[in-house]
């Protein structure tokens, strides 16, 4: 499983992760599609939240709310690589996933914007062609971390989830509308 951890205290919002992401997306493309003018849109964002720049990046959740919300079957969980992925040609651009993702990690290209070679829906693809995600490799502050491998995951993910839940909800229990009842 791929897993991201973002330590916002360390992040100073330099944006190198975005640059690395943009360039990384060109790998493997034919030569005429490479180079600065053909730079692709990054699949992670820096957003101003409570007057601090924060990284919005997909966490490749185990039970992703975006996949639950997807009405056209475009978003799916790739269990082999442990990532949440998109079938671009199936997306109808309904914004349901944008509304659900608590990390703000999915964007949809509005047809009102200029057309581009990018897909309809933009989200982290997990850099599966690389040894580690490029944003992590290029972060000078070590604010982003990633881990691969199913076994490391379980424990780490549980811990991350617990801190996240504590931070965003001030209570225990998963985000979303389901609660496991121990009563």
């Amino acid at each position: 499983m791929l897993f991201f951890q973002e330590e916002s205290i360390k992040c100073d919002g330099c944006g190198r992760c975005q640059v690395a992401c943009s360039f990384g997306l060109m790998a493997g493309l034919p030569a005429q599609d490479q180079g600065l003018p053909k730079l692709r849109r990054p699949l992670l964002w820096l957003d101003e939240i409570e007057s601090k720049r924060r990284i919005s990046i997909c966490r490749h959740c185990e039970l992703p709310l975006c996949v639950d919300a997807c009405v056209s079957g475009a978003l799916w969980v790739d269990h082999a690589s442990g990532t949440v992925r998109v079938h671009q040609n199936q997306c109808i651009g309904c914004y349901s996933c944008v509304m659900e993702c608590p990390f703000g990690a999915i964007r949809i290209l509005s047809p009102l914007e200029e057309t581009s070679t990018d897909g309809v829906v933009l989200k982290c693809d997990g850099c599966l062609n690389y040894l580690a995600p490029l944003c992590v490799m290029f972060c000078p502050k070590g604010a982003l971390k990633a881990a691969k491998g199913a076994l490391v995951m379980a424990a780490k993910r549980r811990r991350q989830r617990a801190t996240l839940v504590a931070r965003t909800t001030g209570s225990s229990g998963p985000i979303g509308d389901i609660v496991k009842d121990h009563g």
Binding site: W45, D47, I49, S56, D68, A69, V71, S72, G73, Q90, I92, G93, C94, Y95, S96, V98, M99, E100, C101, P102, F103, G104, A105, I106, R107, I108, S110, P111, L112, T168, T169, G170, S171, G173, I175, G176, D177, I178, V179, K180, D181, H182, G183
Partner: protein, 404 residues
């Protein structure tokens, strides 16, 4: 001793019913699952009907599951069969054919049906609702034949249908009785942007107008409609999009169901071993702090799953519903959640950020976020939803207290 095989019966074959089936099968590989459905189609996505009319997707893409899912999950399908009564004493569901289907636990996922104003009776040729695949096929066929179409109602369904018809090359008229579009899910400023955008594309929208009566041609078809503004509009098809009413007929005799079947956090109704989920179930609204109907697709899926898990013996609770809608209106994104039009009282605070072509509004109650409207700048939607949910906590805590 081995337990005999459990018998699960599910009435309804859409979002909640299908989610229920999958949840039951995930816990109980052997139980006998029977699905009773009035509609003759395999489960399809109602959300995709508008893109289907618009011509963005093909009919085979309406079915989110592959056709043999029900076979793989070993489900007895009684499709094209209507359930007409429940006998809790005998634990059976009675079908129109007279057959009685025994159950050990029963899920009512019967959904809703479009509301028709009393004086515009349904069934007249040329007046239709927009809910099922058959409705969509009918509208699509008429749109292709070049019929003049009017849409009554300016809610989400009406707006979606108007945009879909526009994209299909038909130019519909919208007749809205409220002073602005999307009056249930937006304030006038956000809706104003949407309306301008739609009008720029050539969709005619009239607000604050009712349909007084309809005029039929000699063949019995629809010829025109007379509006409260005095105008007479030619119209061959009038699509009524005035919301949905829950299909509670099965339990009306057994329960009081003023607006939907009330359920607890496990989706149980007051009747033993009978669960309800989806558009027919009345659940707790996290922002309004009351139980009501919130017929939207994601609620149906979540509730169906929870009902199914509980029917199969798990103990899973629902936290409560957060009414929310995301919409793409001819390229313009629109997202609305929770309470968007608060009363003018001291405890409520509203922050708006209107720009030339975008709009954001946040509604706070006693310092906690309870609602938002976002138009054309929607990246923050997911985070805002997480914030609303975390501020609201668990809607069914009172359920727990009662049990302890």
């Amino acid at each position: 001793m081995l337990r005999t095989m459990a018998k699960y019966v599910i009435v309804g074959n859409s979002a909640a019913g299908l989610a229920g089936v999958k949840a039951i099968r995930s816990q109980d590989p052997f139980g006998e699952i029977t699905v009773i459905s009035e509609e003759k189609h395999s489960p399809y996505s109602r959300v995709l009907l508008a893109p289907y009319i618009a011509g963005h997707i093909k009919i085979q893409d309406l079915f989110p599951e592959d056709q043999d899912l029900m076979v793989r999950l070993k489900v007895n399908q009684l499709i094209g069969n209507r359930a007409i009564a429940i006998h809790p004493a005998h634990r059976t569901v009675e079908l129109e054919t007279g057959q009685a289907i025994p159950y050990e636990s029963l899920l009512l996922a019967t959904g809703g049906r479009p509301v028709f104003p009393k004086d515009l009776l349904a069934g007249i040729k040329g007046i239709a609702g927009f809910r099922t695949l058959d409705d969509a096929d009918n509208i699509r066929r008429q749109a292709m034949a070049g019929a003049k179409i009017a849409i009554l109602g300016g809610g989400l369904v009406g707006v979606k249908l108007a945009c879909a018809l526009h994209e299909a090359g038909n130019s519909p008229d919208m007749i809205v009785s409220s002073p602005h579009l999307l009056s249930q899910v937006s304030d006038d400023e956000g809706a104003g942007l949407v309306q301008q955008h739609m009008e720029r594309h050539g969709i005619r929208i009239r607000c604050g107008v009712e349909v007084l009566r309809i005029i039929q041609d000699p063949a019995g078809g629809l010829k025109s409609i007379v509006l409260s503004s005095g105008e007479e509009e030619p119209c061959q098809l009038l699509v009524v999009c005035k919301g949905v009413r829950p299909n509670t007929a099965l339990v009306d005799r057994l329960l009081s169901t003023p607006s939907g079947i009330p359920v607890n956090s496990r989706m149980q109704t007051a009747l033993p071993n009978i669960y309800a989920a989806g558009d027919v179930a009345r659940t707790y609204d996290l922002t309004r702090k009351e139980s009501r109907l919130m017929p939207i697709w994601p609620h149906a899926v979540a509730q169906g799953r929870i009902a199914g898990l509980n029917m199969a013996g798990e103990k899973i609770r629902y936290r409560g519903s957060l009414p929310r809608n995301a919409l793409e209106i001819l390229g313009l994104p629109f997202i609305s959640m929770g309470i968007v039009q608060p009363p003018a009282q001291e405890e409520w605070a509203v922050f708006t950020d209107p720009q030339r072509n975008s709009y954001q509004k946040k509604v706070y109650f006693r310092g906690k976020l309870v609602g938002a409207v976002l138009v054309n700048r929607v990246e923050a939607a997911g985070r805002l939803q997480a914030e609303i949910r975390s501020a609201a906590g668990d809607g069914y805590e009172h359920d727990l207290e009662r049990r302890n």
